[in-house]
Symmetry: C2
Subunit: 354 residues, 2 copies
């Protein structure tokens, strides 16, 4: 199995030495006194054991015991996979496109052929496990090929945000040695923007005849779409959508010298998939050339660190507060006996104090 | 201007005394040494001065100086408005429906007639001020009627979440004495679920022929939709959508004894608006009867307090970290010199320590 150019090649050489030195120097690091079961688990996962992989993803997704220890141990093995983010409004045909792309990369010759991990994120089902069904259906289809691993995720609400969980699951898949990870998400809100921001290559899928909101949709994700796809381009209005994209591009110039191409496809018939893969390869080359992948990754980590820090700090405050108290205080606020803004200031001020 | 039944009537009697006693008793409360300019500002705002209102909303939305002091002072005056949340996928015709409803409530006789505040939330434009245009267009239309105040909001990204900002702006409109506040948001993601969760009455707008994702959309918001609206119901497939909703209703029973009605409308022609207003009134009656409004509000405040606490704690950690450090650490993580999970644990552990 050949591996494409690693994303941060420039740093790869000294990478493991750095990690090791780092492990020895730092206190409070779990990986240097790693629980042997976890080590075995990780070895299995890295050797391609799908059940170990599935177990690791569930552990991370559900914040089960050991999730943190596991991620800490897996992180040094991550950073080699290429991440594609695909998003678009409901009905744009994202799943079909992702399946087609996966097939394409599995068919490829030695140079192109990649092992694929697919994360199908469903931000629209905060309560129900709405993604499970789609998961099962598509699993069956690809079951024969161990080179494709598909995982569906629905929002878990309380567990620190969908973007964060998706990022952690991506780290697990990456560390498991998948060459290419595709993150597919339904929608066009902030949620989806946060999710696709994890990706090296962000693909926005649009379809003809989407109604009046198409403008705002495109405005929202315009800045992070590296490639535009017009699916169902055999329908009327495909050219109209293309013109709208061109107009928006003329308004918002990118600073990295890349002009996002517009690829017309008919995913259900596999039309335009190869052309899209070509556009993806072009952008990957652009990333390498400008060493943009690292810069994007740094920006991405700035946001992720803040997110993670926010959740960690919340835990700290929650511990101090206790859920019973929270319910009581919420009732007092709802009854307007208490002003929530002052209340929160006070709790935050006291948090962390002995 | 008559006011409908206040949402937490049961508690309203003792409300101001409670607040006052509370103001006198508590330390660290800004309102009892309130900056006189802010007091004047609030008086203007409460007397119906639209420019004072607009300035207050901008202050809260942009977290400008005094935002916190302002909200603390306004909170005791809030809690009387009825809040409608309207959401649905792109192209469902939400804006048109909101305009029609606003007109309806302005036309109403003394009993029904209400002053209206509209918050048009656009989660799809995290970077651009994508909502401004729509704002201006619709402002013009209603300009003649001071009883309708329309405000568009686009995501501000970093400023503590769209749901939180929307909630704060709702508090401002509420304190300004608007009887009815309509929150309109494009989309069907977690973002929108968080936003409409603020509402007393949540309305999900669907349209015929929305493609394969309609199922997930409905699953996502099913649990919080109090009323379903099928807009453009003169199109083919309206009955099909209705059947799908019924099916999902049969799967997910509500515990409050309310079966969300399905109202078919053609918003662009004003067809079915009166029927929808009837359904809204029925649900409002149901809320009063079961005193559900307060219970919903308590649940809502539990989540909002956690959100607010999270942001407050993040500020605390950020202060200690410093943006320069954040950039450096992000680079180290991006280069895999550092494991982010251990890093965040360490920062959180040290936060708040002298």
């Amino acid at each position: 199995m050949s591996r494409h150019q690693p994303k941060i090649s420039k740093y790869k050489l000294g990478h493991y030495q750095l990690c090791c030195r780092f492990l020895l120097l730092r206190p409070l690091l779990y990986t240097d006194r790693l629980n042997p079961d976890i080590q075995t688990w990780i070895d299995q996962l890295r050797s391609g054991d799908v059940r170990a992989l599935a177990r690791a993803i569930s552990t991370v997704e559900n914040r089960a015991p050991e999730w943190s220890e596991l991620l800490k141990a897996l992180f040094p093995h991550s950073g080699k996979a290429r991440v594609l983010g695909l998003t678009g409004p409901p009905g744009a045909g994202k799943s079909t496109l992702v399946d087609q792309l996966a097939r394409f990369y599995r068919r490829g010759n030695d140079k192109d052929k990649r092992t694929v991990g697919i994360i199908a994120v469903d931000p629209t089902s905060p309560y129900t496990g709405g993604a499970i069904l789609g998961d099962r259906i598509r699993m069956q289809e690809h079951f024969s090929d161990p080179g494709i691993y598909i995982r569906s995720m629905a929002t878990r609400g309380s567990l620190g945000g969908l973007a964060r969980t998706t990022a952690d699951v991506t780290t697990v898949l990456d560390a498991s040695g998948r060459d290419l990870i595709m993150i597919e998400t339904v929608g066009v809100g902030q949620d989806e923007v946060d999710i696709v921001r994890l990706a090296d290559v962000t693909i926005l899928i649009l379809v003809p005849g989407m109604g009046d909101d198409v403008q705002t949709i495109k405005a929202g994700i315009m800045e992070i779409a590296d490639i535009f796809v017009i699916n169902k381009s055999d329908r009327d209005g495909a050219d109209h959508v293309e013109r709208e994209i061109r107009t928006l591009q003329s308004l918002a110039m990118r600073h990295d010298g890349w002009t996002p191409p517009i690829v017309k496809i008919v995913a259900s018939q596999g039309v335009g998939i190869e052309e899209l893969a070509g556009a993806i390869a072009d952008y990957e080359a652009h990333l390498q050339q400008e060493n943009l992948a690292l810069r994007k990754s740094v920006e991405n980590w700035q946001e992720r660190l803040v997110e993670m820090l926010r959740d960690a700090m919340l835990e700290k405050a929650r511990m101090q507060l206790g859920d019973g108290n929270l319910a009581r205080l919420a009732a007092e606020v709802a009854e307007h006996k208490r002003d929530p803004y002052t209340l929160v200031e006070e709790i935050a001020a006291n948090a962390g104090k002995p």
